[in-house]
Subunit: 347 residues, 2 copies
DNA sequence: TTGTATGCGTTATCAT
DNA sequence: ATGATAACGCATACAA
């Protein structure tokens, strides 16, 4: 039993294919008009056959697929689910789907996704353009797509990033990191560690540079042994923390590159027989949903992931509707949320 | 500047469209053969024009879209991201994409997704068929699709669920719940609470029935005030826990319907001035990645989400390749993992 | 070994 | 107010 097509409907209703197309698509605009009589007949036929237009044919004919791609750097970090959720809400309301593509820390898959864009499997792309920094190849491909005016919106930090001339939702932790540091400094912390675990190091630059410049302003040395780079999993941050406390002069406060990794840090500190914030203060980033339920509740620099997702989707939708729009940019704030994981430096 | 098509390539290479199609698709199988000479010419032309086949046209022509849908019940629960990750790994290796569709606790969106399936926007579907239980409508649609032999695989529990006659990956917590209860009982717990917060109540039946039958076997009463149903967010489980301890005779142990909600439970217990496992024992489900980093490390009934994802993808891929396969079913084990959140009942 | 012709299901542009 | 007909870009059976 094959799927019914327009032809089948047309035959059953005793009209032409074009007519079916008209009534199905409600082309009551402008020129075309359909008599109530035939309209009914067609609709009846549609119902009877349970006809539903073929999306593939529509895509070929109309040129777009009603699907947008989404590239995120780390599927295990809850922050990015928030983003995905936001994107989803917005695009699905507009009748689009998300082609969730493999989150590529190494650029390998990124190529594939760009290719999909070229193949017109998707109408546009929302991405946290991490992989871009990893690969010349990817940068060239992106430049090429931009030249072709392919709709792309990037979710990115402001600082030190090349402007790829795409629509962007920017949200930058640099300033808030300075707030974090000032707070820590004012609480008497002098040795502040940084668990820099992130799939793409360049993505952490906003935080790292805020950290370093704060130290400098305070006349404190930048001790590179306090900055430990590690992988993006909780186990990585767990080990990194142990490394930090194996130092001759260990930190009294730690910045974790994100809340997700902060969980591993928290665990390591307690396994070391210390407690937070009594012995060590801890600050994360992103304010993931579970941050406020951890024990202790995690102090963090917050970013509204869901909103970032929604805003980027809006930007993309706008450009899809009107390709000639000037370049769009939305700036979203970040802010410091003090909870229970920060306190006075031990004396 | 328009995208180049087969025609353009054919013209540049001085061959026919068919020839282009042959070399591009490497039809070196069976009958067709292309001389090395023309092959080169075509490939050169392809490179020169940067030709890339149009996926929309391929979809129309070939009948499939190389995309599969994925329906999950709760986007905020890390367990389901493990599943998504597994699915992604497997299908992307086979050249498919995931159409991540809005995770629908209420059936509303489910209809849309089924419709997409009908529209052939996707070739198949992997789902945790939660919404099915909410809506007669959805059940009818599913039955219809099954009759049409649309490739669908369900990720579901075994117990008490209707067999929808689709391929399935089953994994059931009933037995492991009995293990959990036996363990708790052996540690002297007699009043065991259940934080039953889940978007779709029917989905928790494997756990609930294991809980109840264990109680019965032990000759203990089933006190319905110890089972508190709540929403699927951490705040819900947080409040539910407070409710549990407002009882005249509060529990000494708690089962949380999943690890995600267990985080809220853990927080509530400590806010109540009690500690885990000293005052109350806690067990979750799923063994999400952060479970072993919580303080205390969470005892839990584990399920390998990623593997569930991978296996369901394999099933779907197999059926896509051969629609006439007999109905497939894979059973995945669950097991109790004892960590630090369970202990002797207080005396 | 390669080219010709046809159809996939839609939608848009004409005529009628 | 409706109907023919021509693309959209590709893949394939068949002819040459």
């Amino acid at each position: 039993m094959k799927r019914p097509t327009q032809v089948d409907v047309a035959r059953l209703a005793g009209v032409s294919r074009a007519t079916v197309s008209y009534v199905v698509n409600d082309r009551a605009d402008g020129r075309v008009t359909i008599s109530e009589e035939t309209r009914r007949r067609v609709l009846d036929a549609v119902a009877e056959l349970d006809y539903t237009p073929d999306a593939r044919a529509q895509a070929l004919r109309s040129g777009d697929t009603k699907a947008v791609g989404l590239i995120l750097p780390d599927i295990h970090n809850p922050h990015f689910w928030e983003v995905a959720d936001g994107v989803e809400q917005e695009v699905s309301a507009a009748g689009y789907h998300i082609l969730m593509s493999s989150i590529p820390p190494e650029n390998k898959d990124a190529e594939d996704i760009f290719k999909d864009l070229s193949h017109r499997r998707i109408d546009g792309l929302i991405m946290v353009p991490s992989f871009i920094y990893q690969s010349e190849e990817a940068q060239k491909t992106l430049a090429y797509l931009v030249k072709r005016r392919v709709p792309i919106v990037g979710i990115m930090a402001d600082h030190g990033e090349r402007n790829f001339n795409i629509d962007r939702v920017v949200s930058d932790y640099r300033e808030t990191t300075v707030d974090v540091m000032n707070h820590l400094l004012s609480m008497g912390h002098r040795r502040i560690g940084f668990v820099f675990g992130i799939a793409i190091p360049a993505l952490g630059n906003d935080r790292l540079s805020g950290y370093q410049s704060s130290l400098q302003s305070a006349g404190l040395p930048i001790d590179s042994s306090l900055i430990v780079a590690c992988g993006p999993d909780m186990e990585d941050s767990y080990q990194a923390t142990k490394q930090l406390f194996a130092l001759p002069s260990p930190p009294t406060a730690i910045l974790a590159i994100n809340d997700f990794l902060a969980i591993g840090v928290l665990r390591a500190i307690q396994d070391l027989g210390m407690n937070v914030p009594g012995d060590v203060s801890l600050v994360g980033y992103d304010d993931i949903p579970m941050a406020k339920y951890l024990v202790p509740r995690l102090s963090t620099a917050s970013k509204d992931g869901e909103k970032m997702g929604r805003e980027s989707a809006k930007l993309l939708l706008a450009r899809l509707q009107n390709p000639d729009l000037p370049r769009q940019e939305i700036k979203l704030p970040t802010r410091l949320i003090l909870r229970e994981s920060t306190g006075l430096a031990p004396s």
